[in-house]
């Protein structure tokens, strides 16, 4: 067997340290590209991700389907299993007497009571029914009446029911904050089906909903939850069109070009390894080890540098931004470590004797 992999790796490291200036130039080029990508992401992504979060919380990705004669609640419920759908639920407008605005798709499985509740603590009601119906409470009401999950409630004149949770409905339906919410099973007909999509699925969601509920000549109508002119910007489009989203490919190509150039100046060295009996596959592995070590170090330094600059310029660091910066720069780094050594080894293809003369 020629070359032990451990010896090969050690020789690759010796070559890197012996050619310190060359290694530093490649490292610096990589760190600038990876760090630059990370910095661009941090600068732009925090603003965009925060905007997208607000946009999403405001129901920017919610669509509402209505149909003459009502919509099947079961069919609406089934949309929860469709990829790209965050949540889907029916809205029965007639039952929602305490407020006129629909409560928002995340709470659409619940109806709302308007009667005053009586409240018992189960600790003092040993005979509380085990199979009691369930209620949920808005946060404002829970704070006002010191309600907590586990208490038994009853509308005046109604049977006892258990409070199973406290909901924060401030963002989509602030009116429901001071209400008790009652679970409505997905059966019969509802007036509207509210569907929340992921940002990626939303653009095609309207067509999907129209097709899902189409029945002969009774076509459904689909409308967005938010008014069309409520937002002048679309965070999904801006995230998708930010230059570094695909710009990392150019960055990776630039680094691969630098690697090719350095390999070109090492033709005689590579030819010597081949002449002495190094298989081409192991020569590629040796180039790969050099590239991996440099790229890993450059990626780490580049991202840390970008974080430091972002922090030093007074901007907050968020996990979303750090994640995006790390992923984008890692895409470039991964491409470099895969493509770089393969293309560099092509420099040493062909006549070994000719390579040796290229000193």
């Amino acid at each position: 067997m020629s070359w032990r992999v451990r010896t090969l790796a050690a020789d690759a490291i010796l070559n890197m340290t012996a050619n310190g200036a060359r290694s530093f130039i490649v490292f610096a080029a990589m760190a600038v590209v990876f760090g630059g990508l990370a910095f661009l992401e941090l600068r732009q992504a925090d603003d965009l991700l925060s905007f997208e979060s607000d946009y999403r919380a405001a129901g920017g990705y919610v669509a509402i389907v209505a149909q003459q004669g009502g919509i099947s609640a079961a069919r609406c419920e089934q949309l929860n299993a469709v990829p790209g759908v965050v949540a889907a639920g029916g809205d029965r407008g007639k039952g929602q007497a305490t407020f006129t605005m629909a409560p928002g798709v995340l709470y659409q499985q619940y109806g709302v009571t308007r009667d005053l509740p009586r409240v018992w603590d189960p600790a003092y009601v040993p005979a509380a029914p085990q199979n009691a119906a369930t209620f949920l409470s808005g946060r404002a009401l829970a704070d006002e009446l010191a309600l907590r999950p586990g208490l038994l409630l009853a509308r005046v004149g109604g049977p006892p029911a258990r409070l199973t949770g406290v909901l924060d409905v401030n963002q989509r339906a602030p009116q429901a904050g001071r209400s008790l919410l009652e679970v409505i099973p997905p059966s019969g007909m509802v007036d509207e089906c509210w569907v929340e999509f992921t940002p990626e699925a939303y653009p095609g969601g309207a067509d999907m909903l129209a097709a899902a509920f189409a029945t002969g000549d009774n076509d459904p109508t689909v409308r967005p939850f938010t008014a069309q002119d409520q937002f002048t910007r679309n965070p999904s489009k801006e995230l998708a069109s930010r230059p570094q989203r695909n710009g990392w490919i150019a960055g990776a190509a630039l680094i691969v070009g630098v690697l090719l150039l350095t390999a070109w100046f090492r033709r005689a060295d590579l030819g010597l390894y081949l002449a002495l009996g190094t298989p081409r596959s192991l020569l590629t592995l040796m180039l790969a080890i050099e590239t991996w070590l440099l790229a890993l170090a450059a990626w780490a330094v580049g991202v840390l540098w970008a974080l430091a600059i972002q922090r030093a310029s007074g901007n907050a660091l968020t996990w979303g931004g750090i994640h995006l910066a790390a992923v984008t720069s890692a895409c470039a780094a991964l491409s470099v470590v895969i493509v770089g050594p393969l293309l560099s080894s092509l420099v040493a293809r062909g006549n070994i004797a000719a390579l040796l003369k290229d000193r």
Binding site: S2, W3, R4, L272, A275, L276, G277, A353, R359
Partner: protein, 224 residues
């Protein structure tokens, strides 16, 4: 050390299909322990013949036999044979310029799969044998032409190959250094190792057992 032989039968070579034949119907055989000088004018095909003998390029036609077995014209097995059976001293001293003389001398053994410690020990002994032990920790680029060529000879000797191929190893050295370097190669070669040496220098050729003249791609035996 195995008893080795290296033979070419009817070997022809062209660098391109339509180009002229650089070698034509070359048949020769080299036995273990022999020292063979290849002489001939520039462009006669000496280097091509050496690179074919050393399995660096595949001939356009003909057969290469190692220890009586026919070798393929390509494939990964040739790399292993190059590592295990052949040592090289090139015309332009080919070494890794920023690595030490010791690292360069150990390279052939490392490629063969020796441990670094074992390779360095053998390389140090070879550097000592060719008279440059004191330069072991110097970078190759800091050495003179003669010193560097001795390091390359040490690299070939340390690996104890069956065949050492030397392509005008003293072509860029002065006359005194030429004789020193040639002596370092021929005197220190391991027992059983054959040396095939291309040269323009008749005095160098006289130190070899055999002389093969290469003229216009043909070979003929001559008295050394």
């Amino acid at each position: 050390m195995s008893i080795a032989s290296l033979a070419l039968r009817d070997v022809t070579h062209r660098y391109s299909e339509s180009g002229p034949a650089v070698l034509s119907d070359v048949t020769l055989r080299i036995e273990a322990s022999e020292t063979v000088a290849l002489m001939g004018p520039s462009g006669s095909g000496k280097t091509t013949l050496l690179t074919i003998l050393g399995l660096l390029i595949a001939p356009s036609g003909g057969v290469i036999e190692l220890d009586g077995a026919r070798l393929p014209h390509g494939g990964s097995s040739l790399a292993r044979i190059r590592a295990e059976r052949f040592g090289w001293v090139f015309q332009t001293a080919n070494a890794l310029p920023r690595r030490t003389a010791l690292d360069n001398a150990a390279l052939g053994l490392l490629v063969r799969g020796e441990t670094r410690a074992g390779a360095r020990e053998a390389a140090a002994a070879a550097l000592d044998a060719v008279g440059v032990a004191g330069l072991a920790q110097k970078e190759a680029r800091q050495l003179s032409g003669g010193e560097l060529q001795r390091v390359c000879i040490a690299r070939a000797l340390a690996a104890r190959p069956s065949f050492i191929l030397a392509d005008e190893p003293t072509g860029q050295l002065d006359h005194a250094t030429t004789l020193d370097v040639t002596a370092a190669l021929l005197r220190n070669r391991p027992e059983g190792t054959a040396v095939i040496l291309a040269t323009h220098d008749a005095e160098v050729a006289r130190q070899c057992d055999r002389l093969i003249r290469v003229i216009d791609g043909h070979v003929e035996e001559a008295a050394p």
